[in-house]
């Protein structure tokens, strides 16, 4: 399993290209870049435009690429027709609690794995990493049985339990802590600081960028999670935005414009968070390369 960590050494420095390519290659490069950008962005553009159309305008021949007369009222109507407030409230609550717990317990455990020597530590860590490669679908049934026994099903806490103790956070933080020299900690130990003090006063302040990466990734994952809530949150007043949106699609399956409005609303917070913390996000992904 150790080779899985192959990419970790160099937290990405992405802006050092090899050399300036010749003119023909540059033209070709820009062409490819253009095509790729359109390929990625067009579906999003179409979503936003459709959310501003009337229902009949969504599917027209030929395609209407610009909503000539934007129907802003779609954004008011979806709040009337759906339980958007409840869904968003639940999702925000889950994202906040899960992120807080994951960052806290993850960085705490990572300190134990990275900086304290004790027997059995490495085997235990291997078990952590090993489960990252096990598909969730293959143990979701026994997991559901455990949740039922803990009487967590159909409560928001089931999702907290599901997401907050993931191995990903431990793995990510351990990678980072290992880059901090042991001498620094030894100096603190000699000064009489205990391990908990070292964690809180030295490691946490030093690891703010890594903590930010982990927090952002966890936030986005929790926000977007569909399968967990689908299994565990049966009562409509517990639904998250993803489950709510899916049920809205089922209920109003011909309201194309409104469906796209709902989609925009479900995507927007994540895009804003991503753009704001992009640097941390990208670094986090590149250092772990393990998710999902």
């Amino acid at each position: 399993m150790t080779t899985l960590l192959a990419v970790k050494e160099d937290p990405v420095k992405i802006d050092v290209p090899v050399r300036r390519p010749s003119r023909a290659w540059r033209v070709l490069g820009y062409l490819a870049l253009g095509v790729a950008s359109v390929g990625v962005l067009l579906p999003f553009y179409w979503m936003v435009m459709s959310s501003l159309k009337t229902n009949n305008e969504v599917f027209t021949v030929p395609v209407q690429w610009i909503a000539t007369d934007p129907v802003w009222s779609n954004y008011a109507e979806i709040w009337r027709k759906s339980d958007m407030t409840t869904w968003l409230g639940n999702t925000v609550f889950l994202a906040a609690v899960v992120t807080f717990l994951q960052v806290l317990t993850g960085s705490f455990a990572a300190y134990g794995f990275a900086k304290i020597r004790f027997p059995g530590r490495d085997v235990l860590f291997l078990a952590y990493i090993g489960t990252l490669a096990v598909p969730w679908a293959s143990y979701m049934v026994p997991q559901f049985v455990m949740m039922t026994k803990l009487q967590l099903t159909d409560t928001l806490w089931s999702i907290v339990a599901l997401q907050a103790f993931g191995a990903l956070g431990v793995f990510m933080m351990k990678q980072f802590y290992e880059t901090i020299p042991d001498e620094l900690l030894d100096a603190a130990r000699i000064d009489g600081m205990n391990e908990y003090g070292i964690y809180r006063r030295i490691m946490l302040p030093l690891s703010v960028p890594a903590l930010a990466s982990l927090a952002l990734i966890t936030l986005v994952t929790t926000w977007n999670d569909y399968l967990g809530p689908l299994l565990y949150l049966r009562s409509p007043d517990l639904w998250t935005i993803q489950i709510g949106l899916k049920s809205f699609i089922g209920q109003y399956n011909a309201e194309y414009a409104l469906i796209m409005t709902g989609s925009v609303l479900s995507v927007l917070p994540v895009v804003v968070i991503f753009l704001a913390g992009q640097r941390y996000f990208v670094e986090g992904v590149a250092t772990t390369g393990l998710k999902g």
Partner: protein, 296 residues
């Protein structure tokens, strides 16, 4: 600290170490480790919602051998993987190579390419289902415009639903793997390219002789990730096609979901889970062995 006897210090370290792990470890054991272990017990039992598990030995596996839906799900999982793995690998590597060039707009594209990956699957599936809608969807409209008289029915057609799902799966994942490749490309020393250039190597030769070998650890790592992620494909199918039309996109993960949560056959669902688990496990082991042999 140095005055403390060695044994006592080790004991203390163990206690302190465990105290750090415990908050996370408790949750991890109850919700991941124990369920993974239990799986190997449930798979040999018959169990529905009423009553507990009864040991039935290999019965579930015998039933599986005769279960045509299971074989369909297995075949479809391989169908998805066989196309999704090379396609995603190729596209994300190509994008990474492109982004590694000194071009304007590269930073912009790096951001944009990540959008599909951070977008929820419900929204993605809905957008693509509409884009690919057979009668009036923009994709088919463009296809008709360039002269395809009879464009595919995509998710409404048993033959085209899987290609549609593969397409969306690749579109969604490429930005993520592109980033991993990009990180790998940055570790290749520029001097190697310069040297090859001095020796008169053309771009293709440089790609084969410098880039690919230098990228080998990354390529291996990314391949393992894509492979596991392809075999366990789940949410994109559940939301986009729900396995249909018919069973044309039914995959193993979804079959486990159906058996376990729609028909409440926990035992049988666990047996199917073992197959999924075994596939991912075996494929990973094989890749590690091959990688090791090649690097020797």
């Amino acid at each position: 600290m140095t005055t403390m006897p060695v044994r006592r210090r080790r004991w203390r370290n163990t206690a302190v170490g465990w105290s750090f792990l415990l908050p996370n470890f408790a949750g991890f054991v109850i919700l991941t480790l124990v369920p993974v272990g239990l799986l190997f017990y449930y798979a040999f039992t018959e169990w529905d919602v009423f009553g507990g598990a009864t040991w039935t030995g290999l019965d579930n596996f015998r039933q599986m051998a005769r279960d045509t839906s299971f074989w369909t799900a297995l075949t479809n999982t391989f169908y998805y993987s066989v196309f999704h793995i090379p396609l995603t690998l190729g596209v994300s590597l190509a994008l990474a190579l492109l982004l590694n060039k000194k071009l304007r707009g590269v930073a912009f594209f790096r951001t944009v390419a990540f959008f599909p990956y951070i977008t929820s699957i419900v929204a993605i599936a809905q957008i693509w289902n509409m884009l690919l809608s057979p009668g009036f969807g923009p994709v088919n409209e463009v296809l008709r415009w360039i002269g395809v008289d009879n464009p595919p029915g995509w998710t409404t057609s048993a033959d085209w639903s899987m290609p549609a799902v593969i397409l969306v799966g690749t579109w969604r994942d490429m930005g993520y793997y592109m980033l991993l490749f990009l990180a790998g490309l940055q570790t290749i020393p520029a001097q190697l390219h310069e040297a090859a250039l001095v020796d008169g190597a053309n771009p293709w030769q440089r790609f084969l002789a410098v880039t690919l070998p230098g990228l080998r650890p990354t390529t291996f790592f990314v391949t393992v990730l894509i492979t596991i992620n392809s075999f366990k494909v789940f949410d994109v199918i559940l939301v986009m096609t729900d396995g249909g039309p018919g069973q044309s996109t039914l995959v193993l993960s979804q079959y486990i979901f159906q058996k376990g949560f729609e028909e409440n056959q926990f035992g049988y669902a666990s047996a199917v889970s073992i197959v999924l688990f075994a596939i991912c496990f075996l494929v990973t082991i094989i890749q590690f062995v091959v990688n090791k042999r090649r690097s020797e």
